[in-house]
């Protein structure tokens, strides 16, 4: 029991540190593409600490306060439902408790809480961004769900543990090679999940500065930053487990999540963003079709 709690705390702490570090690295990589030096790798830690120590003198009601909590709760829940390192049962945390569908739901939960809080802030730009975000979420959730279902049906298990265990027979058994179309669909859907361009229509500084967190400041923003870092690590973990055969050691975990994250950063820095309807159209058409191909293949 105690070791379980320790493991949970360790997982959350590591995920937080790694998430913030990944954020710092991504800023550096983006800067290098721009031709700049970029910030320190540890910049995000400094930012979070600074924001945490700023005063906050505004409030817009209960949901406004709770939204960052929702986000962090959602992130931690996702994190704990995914096995961290394959083989080390202690790091499986609570992944025995649910299947991929529960996970899909909880991933939605964090964003929904954010949407409610932003709506409560009363800023028109935040409201526009929320409506954009929810519209886009409904479209990428579809393609992602189809991809996950295709993989789950193909492997005859909805349990994440099972999905991971089925990929342990060498690189060729990874789902990305066994279900290439579904994986492609899922990887495209990963971009809007990470709010990467060309799908970054929620945080669009030139259009609706800057989306849901417009009114959030100081401590709330600090929590939101931490929540985002945790959430992105949770999503990365889920994807590594889903497509890339899980991680057999801490080192391979770091490497795999890092590479997956860099994929979003690099794509993000060479594309402008879609308009909302273009983004939705693309997400309904391309990744969904790709995922459906594999689903049909598996069903047959």
């Amino acid at each position: 029991m105690l070791s379980n709690i320790m493991s949970i705390l360790l997982t959350v702490f590591t995920a937080l540190v790694w998430g913030l570090l990944l954020g710092g690295i991504s800023r550096t990589v983006t800067a290098k593409i721009h031709g700049r030096m970029g910030p320190r790798v540890t910049q995000n830690f400094i930012d979070v600490w600074k924001l945490f120590r700023k005063t906050s003198s505004i409030h817009h009601g209960g949901m406004f306060w709770l939204a960052p909590m929702f986000r962090i709760t959602g992130a931690i829940a996702v994190l704990l439902m995914v096995p961290v390192v394959v083989g080390q049962n202690i790091t499986y945390n609570m992944s025995f408790a649910g299947d991929v569908f529960l996970l899909l739901y909880i991933m939605f939960f964090g964003c929904l809480g954010m949407a409610l809080g932003a709506g409560n802030s009363g800023h028109p730009y935040a409201v526009i961004a929320v409506s954009r975000g929810l519209a886009q979420m409904s479209s990428y959730e579809l393609s992602f769900s189809v991809a996950v279902v295709a993989i789950a049906v193909g492997l005859h298990t909805f349990r994440i543990e099972g999905i991971v265990a089925a990929q342990q027979a060498g690189i060729s058994s990874w789902n990305i090679f066994r279900f290439p179309f579904a994986s492609a669909g899922a990887l495209i859907a990963f971009l809007p999940m990470q709010m990467a361009y060309p799908f970054g229509i929620v945080l669009a500084p030139q259009e609706i500065p800057i989306g849901p967190p417009t009114e959030y400041s100081s401590r709330f923003l600090s929590l939101m930053f931490s929540g985002r870092a945790l959430f992105s690590v949770a999503k990365l973990l889920f994807f590594v487990n889903l497509l890339f055969g899980g991680a057999s050691s801490w080192l391979s975990l770091l490497l795999k999540t890092f590479l997956l994250y860099m994929y979003t950063v690099v794509v993000s820095s060479v594309f402008p963003r879609f308009r909302t309807e273009q983004s939705i159209k693309f997400l309904w058409l391309v990744p969904t079709t790709l995922a459906l191909v594999d689903l049909v293949r598996v069903m047959l």
Partner: protein, 187 residues
């Protein structure tokens, strides 16, 4: 949602980890993305590869709620001053003002203009002035490093001064903004 009461006067209370916090504040200055005057043209090269202010942790934020620094980039017309006050008061404490250009110091070449103010620190508490017209990116970076030094030493207390002397500042502001329709305490 506006406040109806004047802001609390910040005391000189000793905070834990004050030193580390000051270091963090100095190394992560977020600037409100508001180009109030022509100095904004040199803020753009500041972000690109020649000067790259992100090296020092300085980043542009699109909304005042999340920013620390307000850069008054040059002369302020009375019409802009109203917006600038609104923006400044929405920034959460601690907040700093950096003023670029001779025209913020004493009016510069617009000293006799009927629409630009001459002495900025009568209306807003300025922490760092950067002189020149227009200041080169290097001197803006120099201004930032001076601001960082002040923050690390705990001397960048313009925001405290503003809260303590709010009546003085309000009086001056209302003197030149003829159609004052802002809430008096709007943070």
């Amino acid at each position: 949602m506006y406040c109806n009461h004047p802001p609390e006067k910040p005391g000189d209370k000793k905070e834990v980890l004050q030193k580390i916090t000051n270091m963090a504040r100095a190394n992560s200055l977020w600037v409100t993305g508001y180009g109030t005057g022509c100095g904004a043209i040199e803020l753009r090269p500041l972000g690109t590869s020649r000067f790259d202010m992100e090296r020092f942790g300085i980043a542009m934020r699109p909304t005042p709620r999340q920013a620390d620094v307000l850069i008054i980039s040059g002369y302020l017309s009375t019409k802009t001053l109203k917006r600038v006050i609104r923006v400044y008061e929405q920034i959460q404490d601690p907040k700093y003002i950096m003023a670029l250009g001779s025209c913020t110091i004493n009016g510069g070449m617009y000293f006799d203009s009927y629409n630009t103010l001459n002495v900025l620190d009568k209306y807003l508490p300025v922490d760092v002035y950067v002189m020149g017209c227009m200041p080169r990116p290097e001197s803006i970076i120099d201004g930032f490093s001076l601001l960082m030094k002040k923050i690390k030493e705990g001397r960048a207390t313009g925001w405290k001064h503003y809260k303590e002397n709010l009546d003085y500042y309000r009086e001056n502001q209302k003197q030149i903004i003829k159609n004052w329709d802002l809430p008096d305490y709007n943070w």
